[in-house]
């Protein structure tokens, strides 16, 4: 057997082991009388779960919430990525950092900041608008479906940006030039050439955001419950929190619809990008993305992007910083400023568990993302370049744990790991993280692979190189933007991961997000914000570090 023919089955085995086991336990549990006992087959959990008269409204809300979030995230990402990679807008690096910031903030904190800014009773921005325009009532209510969509869209913006930006970056400019030579304007070229060619990246981004928002819990719980708007994850939460011996079987039965939706979306994506050669933009002919001169629009557009970034992303972070200095939850006032201190920062920095969780999260972020990205390179290669039926199976497998609602998937992992000697150690977190968030590595890399023409690999093989050598010498260097994106997505996710951690973390394997949850459950918003900012600091350092290494690596290969 050749290296290539062995690659697909061994990857299916590896990814399958990682993702099928926890999901299988949950599927099995959903058909059993007593959850965890695996005795007595029953369909009653499905009947009860799906005959709930309120389910119709919940599914409708979920549909609007996920599609809305995907649209907000993808459109914003397209705009920011286009400005960043294809135009001569000033201060580009700043915008890149801004579009990744929401990835680094603990989601619960981002939601709380937005509630402080836009709650209808005394939201800071609402009050400001009432004062300026003399309004009689608050113009915005964050506890609404549109508020939820806005915040979830912003939180998922980095996923969309990190998939779209590398694709836009490696765009073959000759296509656009041909369009312009034929007399098309910049806008016409954008609509007729640029966006259609970017279809795989746009679809990949939209699908990933839909799947992620389908499993999201922070926004629906912090902003949805006060607005009495329930979506699938909060519906599941309500199901398992009403009583002391929750029926996780019923929760899994409901979770199956999220899983089914994700599998359908993946196949839809594969169908829509079937002729991958249409999207190839890096071939042996050489390419060089050129920049569009914004001319007189340069500074007005910069102002628009700047204001947008400030309101949507920087302001919530400022609220966070402010919260870390005030003694309790206060609206900004003279009194609040006079009471500011470093008390919360001090208590976090001398707390041994907070320090241990910082160390553990850093190990998991760097180690987990590095192992995860190596696995993702192989998986994405098979998905894009092999494209057999088995490759389709591999792609679906990679999404299994990712698309299952977080509240229940953690238990699935616990049931698997408790049978192994790894239980209660950092290894369970490392393996669980990689298994669940594999799509964060695979998606940006798939978009990058799609754009590399087979002729490059064929030339290498004609010259006598094997599949692995071709991958190492030809393919990987061209994949660097995708590798950097995937690594950033994985590392920042692992640093703030909560869903699995809360179930698998034990004394000695505490991580940042669990510590943050503890503060949140004690209502300690000051400590929570201080630790949140430390978390942003760690993630920013990782992002800057890996971007720097990526750029250096690209330059070495270019020369």
């Amino acid at each position: 057997m050749t290296q290539k023919s062995l690659l697909t089955p061994s990857l299916i085995l590896m990814v399958g082991l990682l993702t099928i086991c926890p999901v299988f336990m949950l599927v099995l549990g959903s058909f059993m009388d007593g959850f965890g006992t695996y005795e007595g087959f029953t369909l009653s959990k499905y009947v009860t779960a799906y005959t709930d008269p309120g389910l119709k409204d919940i599914l409708f809300n979920t549909l609007i919430f996920t599609l809305g979030s995907a649209s907000v995230a993808t459109i914003l990402a397209l705009f920011l990525a286009y400005m960043n990679t294809r135009t001569n807008i000033p201060f580009k690096f700043l915008f890149k950092v801004i579009s990744i910031i929401p990835m680094m903030i603990p989601h619960i904190l981002f939601c709380v900041s937005w509630a402080l800014l836009l709650n209808p009773s005394n939201g800071i921005l609402n009050k400001l608008l009432i004062d300026i325009f003399g309004l009689s009532a608050s113009p915005f209510n964050i506890y609404s479906l549109s508020g939820m969509i806005l915040v979830e869209g912003l939180l998922d913006l980095p996923i969309a940006y990190l998939i779209i930006a590398p694709a836009m970056n490696s765009f073959d400019v000759s296509l656009e030039e041909s369009s312009k030579v034929c007399g098309a304007s910049n806008l016409q070229t954008l609509l007729r050439i640029t966006l259609p060619v970017l279809r795989p990246a746009i679809l990949a981004s939209a699908i990933l955001v839909i799947v992620r928002s389908l499993a999201s819990f922070a926004v629906p719980s912090v902003l949805g419950i006060p607005g009495r708007i329930y979506v699938l994850p909060t519906h599941i939460y309500r199901m398992i929190s009403t009583g002391f011996e929750p029926d996780y079987g019923q929760a899994s039965a409901i979770g199956m619809s999220a899983l089914a939706a994700s599998v359908v979306l993946i196949y839809l994506y594969r169908y829509l990008t079937k002729e991958s050669s249409r999207y190839v933009t890096i071939s042996g002919r050489g390419f060089k993305p050129t920049l569009i001169d914004l001319k007189t629009y340069k500074y007005p557009l910069f102002t628009v992007v700047g204001i947008l970034s400030f309101i949507l992303i920087i302001l919530p972070v400022i609220v966070l910083l402010y919260t870390s200095f005030v003694p309790y939850s206060m609206v900004p006032s003279f009194k609040a400023f006079s009471m500011m201190s470093l008390k919360h920062w001090h208590s976090v920095l001398v707390d041994p568990i907070s320090l241990l969780s910082l160390k553990n999260s850093l190990i998991l972020g760097v180690g987990g993302a590095t192992i995860g990205i190596v696995l993702s390179i192989f998986v994405a290669y098979v998905i894009v370049k092999v494209r057999t039926r088995a490759a389709g199976v591999l792609e679906s497998l990679s999404f299994l744990s990712f698309s299952f609602p977080g509240i229940v998937i953690g238990l699935g992992f616990m049931w698997v790991f408790v049978q192994t000697p790894l239980y209660g150690t950092l290894w369970t977190l490392l393996i669980g993280y990689i298994a669940t968030y594999l799509p964060y590595g695979i998606r940006p890399l798939s978009s990058a692979f799609i754009q590399i023409h087979d002729s490059l690999e064929e030339s290498s093989r004609v010259s006598g190189a094997g599949a692995l050598t071709t991958m190492r010498r030809i393919v990987i260097p061209l994949l660097i933007p995708g590798v950097v994106s995937g690594w950033i997505l994985m590392a920042t996710m692992f640093v703030r991961e909560l869903t699995l951690s809360v179930v698998l973390s034990r004394p000695g394997s505490e991580v940042l997000a669990v510590q943050i949850l503890r503060f949140s459950e004690d209502g300690m918003w000051g400590q929570l914000s201080a630790l949140g900012i430390i978390m942003i600091g760690i993630s920013s350092s990782l992002v800057i570090g890996v971007t720097f290494i990526g750029n250096k690596f690209s330059r070495i290969h270019a020369s």
Partner: protein
């Protein structure tokens, strides 16, 4: 004289066995507590300093408590030596054989109902009462009876856990009826409907209830007075609207505790007056150790009643009823 000798010998034996336990516990080195109660780090640190046995605290949320413990237990990997949780949770675990009986000498003076079980000791009540922002609510406006919460002036000014799903809130509302706080069941229902008519903002549990009151987003919360201590110096106070109701919190030792002597030592410490003092004054809990109260004005005079534990079926049924009324 004979009686005295027996008593003396008994005391010597008890002391010796305690020392023997303490020595063995020290050898075991660690005691791991699974708990749903939050902010108990000061007690764990104090236990470690006092006994030389390292106290570990694993926080397990109520929703995942039974599933986590039973999974670990079935696989023979339960890492807990001691388990603290809501009484109904511990009773489920006791039925499944996860817990073992133990009579701690530290329970002297506890109410009889709290120590009548041979395995689970009830040591505190998760007490529920309205808390308000004392800078924004005038003294004259502070509710004095439960019925005052239905006054129209509180419309859109209240925050509370979702009464259709939050088990403790559901039990609290039902407890108000069963404890005959109102003159009749009709009066109780009028209270529930009046509260619902004031359109309270819902959050998922008690922990997010104080923040909107501190910031002035809402004025009153159906919450727990313990936040007055843990959130100090936030301008919070509690409204004495009548008898306070709450769910009992329990603690018990794991049947196959990895460190059985350390488990007993930690149980004795946990139920001691010193530890309960810390729990009352650092965490704000209403504890059952005699004469120990949290430093919250007026709380020592309040009548605090443990509510009946509802079965999961009852919680679901009442949750559905409250959903119709509040939504």
């Amino acid at each position: 004289m004979r009686k005295f000798m027996v008593l003396l010998l008994g005391m010597i034996f008890a002391t010796l066995s305690l020392y023997a336990d303490a020595a063995k516990a020290k050898q075991e080195g660690v005691a791991n507590l699974y708990a749903n109660i939050t902010a108990i780090e000061p007690l764990i640190e104090d236990f470690t300093t006092l006994t030389g046995v390292k106290g570990l605290y694993t926080r397990v949320s109520t929703a995942k408590y039974v599933a986590t413990v039973l999974t670990e237990h079935a696989a023979g990997k339960l890492q807990a030596d001691l388990l603290q949780g809501p009484l109904p949770v511990l009773e489920i675990l006791k039925d499944k054989g996860v817990l073992t009986p133990y009579k701690s000498p530290s329970t002297v003076g506890y109410p009889e109902w709290a120590t009548k079980d041979d395995t689970i000791v009830q040591f505190a009540i998760e007490y529920v009462a309205p808390i308000y922002n004392k800078e924004l609510v005038k003294a004259a406006d502070v509710p004095k009876r439960y019925e005052d919460l239905t006054d129209k002036k509180w419309k859109d000014k209240i925050v509370m856990p979702d009464p259709s799903s939050h088990a403790t809130t559901i039990s609290w509302l039902v407890g108000l009826k069963e404890a005959k706080i109102f003159a009749s069941d009709e009066a109780w229902m009028a209270f529930v409907k009046g509260l619902a008519a004031n359109k309270p903002m819902f959050v998922k549990s008690f922990s997010p209830t104080p923040a909107p009151v501190e910031s002035g987003e809402k004025l009153i919360a159906i919450s727990m007075p313990k936040y007055i201590i843990t959130k100090a110096p936030a301008p919070l106070a509690w409204a004495n609207v009548g008898p306070i109701l709450g769910s009992p919190r329990g603690i018990a030792i794991a049947a196959n505790a990895p460190h059985p002597n350390a488990a007993r030592l930690m149980m004795d410490y946990w139920l001691s007056k010193e530890s309960m003092n810390l729990l009352a004054n650092k965490v704000g809990e209403y504890v059952l150790a005699p004469g120990v109260y949290p430093k919250i004005e007026g709380i020592e005079k309040a009548k605090v009643i443990p509510i009946r534990e509802l079965s999961d079926e009852e919680i679901k049924e009442w949750g559905a009823t409250f959903k119709k009324i509040f939504y």
